[in-house]
Amino acid sequence: MALYIVKRLLSALPTLFIIITLSFFLMRVAPGGPFDLERPLEAKVMENLKRVYQLDRPLWEQYLIYLKSLLHGDLGPSFYWRDFSVNELFARALPISMRIGATALGVALVVGSLLGALAALRQNSAADYAVMTGATLGITIPTFVVAPVLQLVFGLALAWLPLGGWNDGAWRNSILPIATLALPQIAIIARLTRASMIEVLRSHHIRTLRSQGLPLRYVLKHSLRAAALPVVSYLGPAAAALMTGSIVVETIFAIPGIGRYFVDAALNRDYTLVMGTVILVAVLVVLFNLVVDLVYAWLDPRVRYE
């Protein structure tokens, strides 16, 4: 088990290396630089800045310097928020993004699988159609439509919740972002659960339970666990989708998380911050996929590796 985890983590290293290299050179060959402001800086100031940030060295040297500092866990100084290092920015932004993302995922899992299971058990009933229509809507309506509508309804018309801002993580401020982020995931998970549950309910081992006269709660116990497998496999892509969604949500609700930093950083050519975000996201995806595989193996004895 421990060996397996170590092996998986080691096998992720080449991928990470490719990501780092690719994004490093992609950014540097692109036109524009971090100090190309609308009003050009004085040549002297520019030179100074470039020296401080080591942009005057040859590209390969910059690359090696960057790799070296990465090995020490240092993501370098931010080019835009010049008083901060990328590590410092992340130390503040990451917990915020994680909290919203994790809560949204949790909500989506619980609500989505409950709705999906309900629809599967009452297949072709009004409840089923309602859930499936809602799910299709949830998948098709983009996050950036849901967010302003929620703002309009709960923020302005009813004035129950604040329109945006983080306010040091007050729960009232996080309801709308979490809801926005969770809605499409609820929809997807509900559809997945319904489909797999319907298939499980038709399977031979459920027929066995019924032939043994086991009551509904046993049928549920067996079918939910089997139906959970595709949902668990979906969690990897779901985490990636949440990170994408966080870009929108954090922008609309003015939340100082990773997603918002990324867009700002990209627009401002903040090389190190962009790199840092890309690396961070890649690491998170790798870790999350590992966790998903472990959970899958825990649920399904057939893939256990002993």
Binding site: L137, P142, L267, V278, V286
Partner: protein
């Protein structure tokens, strides 16, 4: 029964046609009311996006400064209460005094006075306004210090209202819808071509080829791709081609996996082994057995991919990284609308409704195709 008879004379009676799986699937699809309605709706949309723009009275990039953010209306503009203020503005610009004005049907009749003779070229202000046709001098009095002028009112229809620049929203939606659909289809085709080729080759040849090719897919999978797309678009500028290459490049991974899985399972089917036993070569097996049998899932995935791509494009547009003015996509319009949600909510409602209806229909068609092609309960 004898060999010679059969070989020499062609079969006498024409053999009846059987029901192929495709025609079975078509029949099942036609029984699916939601899918058929969606198909009709999509056909209507496609028609509207291509031909509709020719019918709408306004060009998609025509700006009406006098009609910024006007509400959708079945009645033609200008409304009665808009004419007065517009005339006031014109009079103010002409620096004359209006002593009398009458609105008779579609014509405004005004009398201007000024201490000095009035330059008739000033009447061009009527023409510049979006509300009136060119004005005409009916009567000239007091050596040109008093003019009686008639200006026909120009009626304009803004069924969907106008946007914050005063452009006809209907025309823009038709343009944007067309572009969104085009991006959706083109990017899906990019994904289709790369994905099918990659997956079929990996799956059919198997072994080391498969291992290397799928390892590449795995690595690409774990890249935070959306971030790369954003990087690409930010750093290399926003253009149409880059857009669907970027989007297509993300989505081919899924396609490759599906096709590979499908190919692997078909390769194990006995009919492929039978073809090998008959001595059919690789290209014949791919052409006659593998590709026709992978087609079903691929078609289904393709129909479900188009809405996904449209969503992705709209996401980029929302970040301001998508299609650029004066062109537009539904994502651009929706994000405009979201910014103007207070006061001009129709700017969100109209494009969002079309967008959602379109994606809904595409999803229904995809689901319908899946049920038709893969009938589990038969």
């Amino acid at each position: 029964m004898t060999a010679i008879d059969g070989a020499q004379s062609p079969p006498s009676s024409p053999a009846p046609q059987g029901r192929s799986l495709w025609s079975d699937a078509r029949a099942r699809l036609m029984q699916n009311r939601a899918a058929v309605a969606s198909l009709i709706f999509l056909a209507f949309l496609a028609l509207a996006f291509t031909l509709g723009r020719a019918i709408t009275p306004h060009a998609y990039d025509q700006v009406f400064p006098d009609y910024v953010k006007v509400q959708p209306s079945l009645k033609p503009y200008p409304l009665a209460d808009q004419i007065g203020p517009a005339l006031d503005r014109i009079v103010a610009r002409m620096r004359v005094q209006a002593v009398d004005r009458k609105i008779e049907g579609d014509v405004v009749r005004m009398t201007f006075e000024s201490p000095r003779p009035i330059d008739e070229r000033l009447l061009a202000y009527f023409e510049r306004s979006d509300l009136f046709h060119p004005a005409r001098v009916v009567e000239r009095q007091e050596e040109g210090r008093r003019l009686v002028v008639e200006a026909p009112i120009e009626r304009r229809l803004f069924l969907f209202g106008t946007d914050s620049n005063g452009r006809d929203l209907l025309s823009r939606i038709l343009l944007a819808g067309g572009i969104s659909l085009l991006i959706g289809i083109l990017a899906s085709l990019v994904a289709l071509i790369i994905g099918v080729a990659w997956g079929a080759i990996a799956g059919y040849f198997g072994g080391r080829v498969d291992m290397v090719m799928m390892r590449i897919v795995d690595i690409l999978y774990s890249l935070p791709f959306i971030f790369f797309v954003i990087l690409l678009v930010v750093f290399f500028g926003r253009n149409f081609v880059l857009m669907f290459i970027a989007v297509g490049a993300i989505e081919w991974l899924d396609m490759a996996r599906i096709v590979r899985g499908q190919t692997l399972s078909i390769k194990r089917q006995e009919y492929v082994q039978a073809a090998e036993a008959l001595g059919v070569d690789s290209s014949g097996i791919l052409r006659r057995h593998i590709i026709p049998n992978t087609l079903g899932p691929v078609v289904v995935f393709l129909t479900l991919l188009v809405p996904k791509v449209i969503l992705l494009e709209s996401f980029l547009s929302f970040l301001g990284l998508g299609v650029q003015e004066p062109m537009s996509s539904l994502g651009v319009l929706i994000s405009d609308g979201a910014k103007n949600i207070q006061g001009a909510s129709y700017m969100l409602i109209a494009p969002a409704t079309i967008f959602i209806a379109m994606l809904f229909a595409l999803n229904f068609v995809g689901d319908g195709l899946r049920d038709a092609l893969d009938p589990k309960d038969r």
